[in-house]
Amino acid sequence: MSELLQFVFSGITVGAVYALVALGFTIIFNASGVVNFAQGEFVMLGGMITVFAHAAGLPLPLAALIAIVVTAAVGVALNRLAIEPARGAPVVSLIIITIGASIFIRGASQLIFDKQIHSFPAFSGDDPIHVLGATILMQSLWVIGGALAVFAGLWLFFTKTLLGRAVLATSNNRMAAQLVGINTKFVMTLSFALSAAIGAFGGVLVTPITLTAYDVGLALALKGFAAAMLGGMGNPKGALVGGLLLGLLEALTAGYLSSQYKDAAAFVIILAVLFFMPQGLFGRKSTDRV
């Protein structure tokens, strides 16, 4: 029992990060129809910039803030320089552009930072908390709490503010949004900034647990993408549930079956979901118009 609880704790912690990456995918996908394979690099940048700003002598909260702002700027630049100019390109071109961006950001980080593995101190010390025979790190609570706060904040943003509704309207129908006077270009910029900031925030939260390096982004992007698909592409609720579910599945597979095949379990489940529910758990069903 305590063993199961232990796996659940670690699954939810990892799952919360996947959920944040999946949320980042969702925001950009809704605004632009692009699946951004560079999403994982935002998480990497969040962690790495914090590490180096902190090492340069800045207090941790300030270092984290800088990391999030810089990463958001990278997101905006990605949109302006690579996604906007390629509007209307076929899916395969867009896939290559964002994978290219991911490789570029990785290459740049390797030059600007280094190839070492890094971390910074946990926010509230390293002492674990004991719950029913299992232990959980304080930092895990930060991760889970942070992720929930982001989801709650976004929910408020999308439902209660005019700007948030403008973003939603744009994702539903770009043309109609333009006609009613929404600045869709600004909405795109905002979506990339938001998505990058969320990724960086996830990186800041999780680095004390998982450590970081210039090349952690790709694996995170794939998992986050998988989580987004599991939940149903384009649906924030799906991103949350998909992320947590994926984290749990991985942790349980690693615990009870084989730690080597924990990633395999995730992809097997995703393939199964795609076969039986091609729209994911919460996706909308679409009909081709002819």
């Binding site: 390109a89 552009i97 290219g100 990785r106 290459g107 794939l222 795609l274």
Partner: protein
């Protein structure tokens, strides 16, 4: 007109393969050449799948892995001659593509790409983790293909580099010939039709699901044979051959040159094979430059290098 175009492409390619070695300053260039041809072969398979049929796979490296490990394992464990192991690997890849393709080819666009990506990652994971069979992440030795000895018995003495240059060059020519045949054949037209409009393809009687699987199986066999040749030439193979980055590399090569045509994709393979060779001086900047090239070409030359250049020339004529 179209027929002669096909043979001109092949003649030009053959001439290029035959003549270039005259200018090689050292034996090392034979190796680069054969690497280029192997990549060109894998990428030709992507032309069939993505260029003709419009389906995107990010899991092609999985089949290259199967082809590569078939040549490492079959000769040692089951006594299959290495040259036949290539055929065995291709057969396994083809059957697997058929089985995997049935469910995943119902998906479209990003969903198809992630499903195929999942398949590729699973293959890479098995190769990494089944240490008893594959020796794990460090890789495994591959026996010599044995044909070079045969040739020298007949009085044809080639260096290892020359031999592989010739063998992979011939394989690429055959692969290009087959893909070009397909393009103007009834099956090829069906593939290109479903790329243009699935619903219209279906209304003229094309069994869309079936021809998609045919394209997937064909492209898997290309990737598998390319993987086998790579492993046999290196006499060594690691699970990286099946990795996500290898899949991305293949798709990028194809799209870079122009995925709709065989010569375009082979040119893309050429550029991306030679680029790292040129950049070895700038090894640190390799990823940076690769990323920039990928983004730049897709933004400014959306159809790829060859069609964009052709269009530019045509534009100047008019």
């Amino acid at each position: 007109m179209r027929i002669s175009g096909k043979y001109w492409t092949l003649i030009f390619l053959a001439a290029l393969i035959a003549v270039t070695p005259l200018f090689f300053p050292s034996g090392y260039y034979f190796r680069v050449g054969s690497l280029l041809f192997v990549n060109g072969l894998a990428v030709t398979g992507i032309v069939v799948l993505t260029g003709y049929a419009g389906q995107i796979s990010l899991g092609q490296a999985g089949f290259a892995g199967i082809g590569g490990y078939a040549c490492a394992l079959a000769p040692v464990h089951w006594g299959v001659p290495p040259a036949l192991a290539v055929v065995l690997g291709a057969a396994v890849s083809g059957v697997l593509a058929y089985l995997v393709g049935r469910p995943i080819l119902r998906l479209k666009g990003y969903y198809l790409s992630v499903a195929s990506l999942g398949f590729g990652i699973l293959v890479a994971m098995v190769l990494n983790n089944e240490r008893e069979l594959t020796k794990g992440p460090d890789g495994i030795n591959v026996p010599d293909i044995g044909l070079r000895g045969l040739l020298s018995d007949w009085g044809l003495n080639l260096t290892n580099g020359e031999f592989w240059y010739a063998l992979t060059g011939i394989c690429l020519l055959i692969g290009a010939w087959i893909a070009l045949n397909l393009q103007s054949s009834p099956t090829g037209r069906a593939l290109r039709a479903l790329h243009g409009s699935e619903v219209a393809a279906s209304t003229v009687g094309i069994d869309v699901a079936r021809v998609k699987i045919q394209a997937f199986v064909i492209s898997a066999i290309y990737a598998s044979v390319a993987g086998s040749l790579m492993a046999l030439q290196n006499k060594f193979v690691t699970p990286d051959i099946a990795g996500f980055l290898h899949s991305v590399e293949m798709v990028t090569m194809a799209v870079l040159g122009g995925v709709a045509s065989v010569p375009g994709a082979i040119l893309g393979a050429g550029v991306l094979t030679l680029l790292p060779q040129v950049l070895t001086v700038l090894a640190e900047y390799e990823q940076l430059i690769l990323g920039l090239v990928m983004m730049g070409v897709m933004i400014f030359l959306q159809e790829g290098l060859v069609p964009s250049i052709l269009r530019w020339f045509r534009g100047r004529d008019e």
